[in-house]
């Protein structure tokens, strides 16, 4: 008898622990970001951007906005189970965020079951084009877009143009995708790549010395990397320590994380690459006012350097909020329909979601990390904007 009681008690305890707290009044939005693991910084910045958007927007459909933030730990399985929790238990009407293509694709696979729109703000794989009616990409440039930005940038910069590039990527779908896109485009445009099969480093890699040795051995004098943003300064630091950066220039498929860039100090100088946003945009005509305003407010709210992860997550959230208002309801299909074709004029100009493939089109910047001039954000290293690409130049063309 006792044992029956214990089993029953355990089950009750388990259920009691899982009972949800509050009834739904606010509009709930599920936010999936990594808060632990190597990309935790990026996750924090994404959460900040989305939080800022919610604070700016204040209400949806006349109801308060409630963001429920869950940690994906950058693990697809965890993310899916958190998404289930956000949707089934918390009754979130939409999911937003997500770092890493692997996580994004796993979630996309399950989205029909979950039956809510999912706006990814930090997924770069090209597989997202037209993947699912409920899945959107609004944020980070996709790999084909960064490839265009980077190759064009290389061609436009005399110092970079003649170099032979060694391609090193993180070993998962985004890395592979980014490498293939870059290599294909480089080939077409006459940029030399020494290892067309590209080198793949496990995501866990902390010790880059072997890869650095390989780059040295390859005779390359340029490096193209597609590494998770937080890792870039780490790689740079080690490349510097080995004296690799004396001979090589670095082009990155993703913008380095702001905090990590700051932590890396001067080691992080000299990262060249295309991105959607850099706070330096506030010095560029046409973006000046909006960027400056957004930067100042972001810095004030989070005591953190404004960065691309926060900016495109902000924009993604704004797109979603606008669409919910436009749909006038929290019905998933209606929201999804409203997101298609929505546009928003944010810190980096006007963006819009192409209705044909559910992915965003936006302007982008070519940047290089350099020592920062005196600035209000306390940054010592920053991404200097070299060039601005209009959305049209980056492609791909939007077909309806």
């Amino acid at each position: 008898m006792k044992r029956i009681l214990i089993i029953a008690a355990s089950v009750l305890l388990a259920l009691a622990l899982a009972i949800p707290a509050v009834a739904a009044d606010p509009v709930k939005i599920g936010v999936l970001v990594p808060l632990t693991g190597i990309v935790a910084n990026g996750g924090k910045e994404m959460a900040n951007g989305i939080d800022m958007a919610a604070k700016d927007k204040k209400t949806l459909l006349g109801r308060p906005i409630k963001l429920i933030v869950e940690d994906t730990r950058v693990k697809p399985a965890v993310a899916v189970s958190k998404a289930e929790k956000l949707v089934y238990q918390d009754k979130s009407v939409a999911l937003i965020g997500v770092f890493s293509s692997g996580v994004g694709l796993a979630l996309a696979k399950n989205i029909d079951k979950l039956n809510v729109p999912f706006v990814s703000t930090h997924v770069m794989t090209t597989k997202f084009y037209g993947l699912n009616p409920l899945v959107f990409r609004s944020g980070q440039l996709a790999n084909d877009q960064t490839a265009v930005g980077n190759v064009e940038g290389i061609l436009a910069t005399p110092d970079l143009k003649k170099r032979k590039y060694y391609v090193l990527v993180h070993d998962y779908s985004w890395g592979h995708d980014a490498a293939k896109r870059f290599i294909a485009l480089a080939k077409a445009k006459g940029v030399k790549v020494v290892n067309p099969d590209f080198d793949r480093a496990p995501i866990k890699t902390k010790n880059w010395s072997t890869y650095i040795s390989k780059i040295k051995a390859s005779g390359a004098d340029g490096i193209y990397i597609a590494l998770i943003t937080d890792v870039i300064p780490r790689f740079m630091k080690q490349a510097n320590e080995f004296g690799l950066m004396k001979t090589c220039r670095l082009v990155s498929g993703a913008a380095p994380g702001a905090v990590d860039l700051e932590n890396a100090g001067t080691a992080g100088v000299g990262i060249f690459g295309a991105s959607d946003y850099a706070w330096d945009l506030e010095n560029f005509p046409g973006y000046q006012a909006k960027a400056k305003d957004w930067n100042t407010r972001y810095y004030k709210m989070y005591k953190a350097i404004p960065c691309d992860a926060a900016a495109h997550s902000y924009v993604g959230a704004m797109n979603l909020f606008k669409a919910i208002e436009k749909a006038g309801s929290t019905d998933p299909q209606k929201i999804a329909a409203a997101i298609r074709g929505i546009s928003y004029d944010g810190p980096y100009g006007k963006v819009y979601i192409c209705p044909g493939d559910n992915c965003m089109r936006n302007d982008a910047v070519l940047t290089e990390t350099v020592k920062a001039p005196k600035n209000p954000y306390g940054a010592t290293i920053y991404m200097k904007v070299l060039k601005v690409f209009p959305a049209k130049e980056l492609g791909p063309p939007c077909k309806n």
């Binding site: 899982a18 869950e70 697809p76």
Partner: protein, 338 residues
Amino acid sequence: MSNMEQAAPRSLIFERLGGGKAMWITTAVMVVILAVLPFILPNRFYIRLVNEIMIYGLLAMSLDVLLGYTGLLSFMHNAYLGLGAYATGLFMIHIWPESIWVAMLVGTVFTMAVALPVGWVQVRTGGLAFALLTLAFGMMFYTVAWKWYDLTGGDDGLMGLPQPDITLFGLKLASSGNSTAIYLFTLAILLICFVFTWRVIHSPLGAVLEAIRENEERASFVGINVRRYKLIGWMLACGLAGTAGSIYILYRGYTGPGVMGAFEGAGVLMMVLLGGMGTLWGPFIGAALFIVLKDQLSSWTQDWEIFIGAIVILLVLFLPKGVAGVPALFNRQSGGED
């Protein structure tokens, strides 16, 4: 018969449960509660949670067959869940997407086929070396799953699992895409595995495994081929883990190398210890507590690891026999260490 029942040992909780009606009534009640749960609980999140608990409970139970009944420690039993999941998934994606039953069989058999040579090597060492070898082989499987991008999808995991109908004797029951259907399917498989394992544990073979756990040397000196039976225990545990893996991928529609990681393995070990070794139902309670705690804590606080860790430490210090040891606390004799 009744005479023999009386002479049967009464020393261990599971024996008492096994001998009496109490456990079967409890089991039946639990199964009924679990079976009606999806129909009375509208929130699918809980259904998914309970589903996950059932799968990990099965995995923990299979580890307990090894640890609690045979006395062998496996650090990475989850690797065999992973093998089962990948085998089932790959079979359905590349070879035959039609039948859920065949896929499950493939998952289980493949897991056991891999476990056989591994087990053969492991049982030659014994003791702590056995445990450390499970770590080595487990990490190897993990690394292969993680690095063999073309086959396993690497870090992204295995996706795009077909969702065939669940059929029984040609009769279509439901779609495996339906989470309630998968839930009930899991429950059914779980029940079969539980009854099967219970039967095995209380069979003459189970007695041999127990004897090895209690005193390996004495076991060999009553004529038991210890290595052979350890291998049988290992194969049984791995087969069950493979089955759990098959359900896992059907339930999740996805699997990645993450489920095979070393730290996930320690989590499974923790479930067994939470629930109490040497009882078949203990691991399920352990799995429930562990999964719910982890899930809830990670939602409530970013510092959930501290709490999980602290709970584990307190449990080991003050309740080393797990939840299954709780009855002893109520007994007159204190449940002290022997």
